[in-house]
Symmetry: C2
Subunit: 282 residues, 2 copies
Amino acid sequence: MVVLKGKPVADSICDKIRDNIEELTNKGIEPGLAIVRVGKKPDDIYYESSAIKRMESVGIRVASVVLNENISESALITKIQELNYDDGIHGILLLMPLPKHINSENVKHAIAPEKDIDGLTDENMCRLYAGDKDGFAPCTPSAVMELLEYYNIDVTGKNVVIVGRSLVVGKPLLMLMLAKNATVTVCHSKTEDLKKVCRQADILVAAAGRAKMINAEYISENALVIDVGINQDENGNMCGDADYESVCTKASAVTPVPGGIGSITTSVLAKHTVEAALKLID
Amino acid sequence: MVVLKGKPVADSICDKIRDNIEELTNKGIEPGLAIVRVGKKPDDIYYESSAIKRMESVGIRVASVVLNENISESALITKIQELNYDDGIHGILLLMPLPKHINSENVKHAIAPEKDIDGLTDENMCRLYAGDKDGFAPCTPSAVMELLEYYNIDVTGKNVVIVGRSLVVGKPLLMLMLAKNATVTVCHSKTEDLKKVCRQADILVAAAGRAKMINAEYISENALVIDVGINQDENGNMCGDADYESVCTKASAVTPVPGGIGSITTSVLAKHTVEAALKLID
């Protein structure tokens, strides 16, 4: 059983980025990422600080835009539009979910598609759906694809089963896997006999958002399990959507939580920001 | 073995439309569909004439816009923009594919989303992808959903396997099936052991565009087979993607070709046109 750790994947992405950043610097461009946070949710602050650390490590400038949780929708949109026009900002990361008094759809769509490095806008969703590789996919499903590429796992023709159909992970991953010629099955809460469907997977992706729901009964001998979940177990410890110990008795390979997919996402964020900046000198 | 014919489905859709048209007429609105044809391809002329017949039968006015096959891209786009501004036109059907000197993407996206009754624009693709039911899906996958609804076939939790991943049928059907809570698998030319994957289907949709490729070996006992293909066999006769006689030995139900899904699409076109007109009085 192989543990597919995220760190070497993240490091490898960052190594490539550093070359691109040198290229940009030589042309007078310093790549910049704006992180827009509304309020003080601990999850947001945690992700923001790990993103800042990652950006600093590769040489991407970060503008932290911290807004009061009572900000109006129109004021937030105005702030985003300012970032759209800011030549020093190449990527905009909007931390979600937003407070309930704000219509997230309106705010998401205010982001300029070319700076939408987390794939929230219609333009980027549409490109993903259409199989056009020029857009930005959301960072988490992109991190899954980066991990597979790093470990030389070819999905062509393979049975990939995705548990979860969210717009943030399940659906975009479905599109990325299809674009790589996998045979893709999407399961969800309404799926009949989920265990049976999951056992048909060569690669099983757990992205349902339920702690430890995928155990050995859901996988066939030698399957690869990719765990996208980030949950807390009954003791308050971080755990994935897969029951790690149980899954390890059967799988050929598995991504851990923590230390798996989640540890790659900030590198993807950095990569997308650099790609957005590179498009300016194309 | 039940043959799921398209005609009663089409008739049922048209009956409902007539009520809506009465409602519109009472408010002084006559629904109108523009059919834009570039050149004289026999397939286009055939589809156009059957669409016109259908629209006349329910009381939708048709504007046939026939353009020379040498028309420039910009002239075609101008024509479409005129239709966008024409208050008497509620739906625009652009017959595809366009001649090679024209970039279809540019032309598609010139259609106003609210008149894009065949779901070609980014706005409508994006709504479909996001699970927003307010947009228009392409007519052929919509016809599949209409057939299932008419025959009271609930797809919730069922294993639906779609062979084909085109933007016109496979992908939109995937999204429509997911929205109806089916467990969906998408197969294609790169799928390993296609027969095995197809045999896992409760409902198998053949949308690969290859004459008679799906035979009894691809289906399990009692599966339902939906044939979206329109091809010619070795004798020049119209046939589907399924080998009808072979499939009939095993399936519980099958849609014929001709007389199946293809005979429903013009009714969906009429339904979408009326829906587009109804939005004006909402």
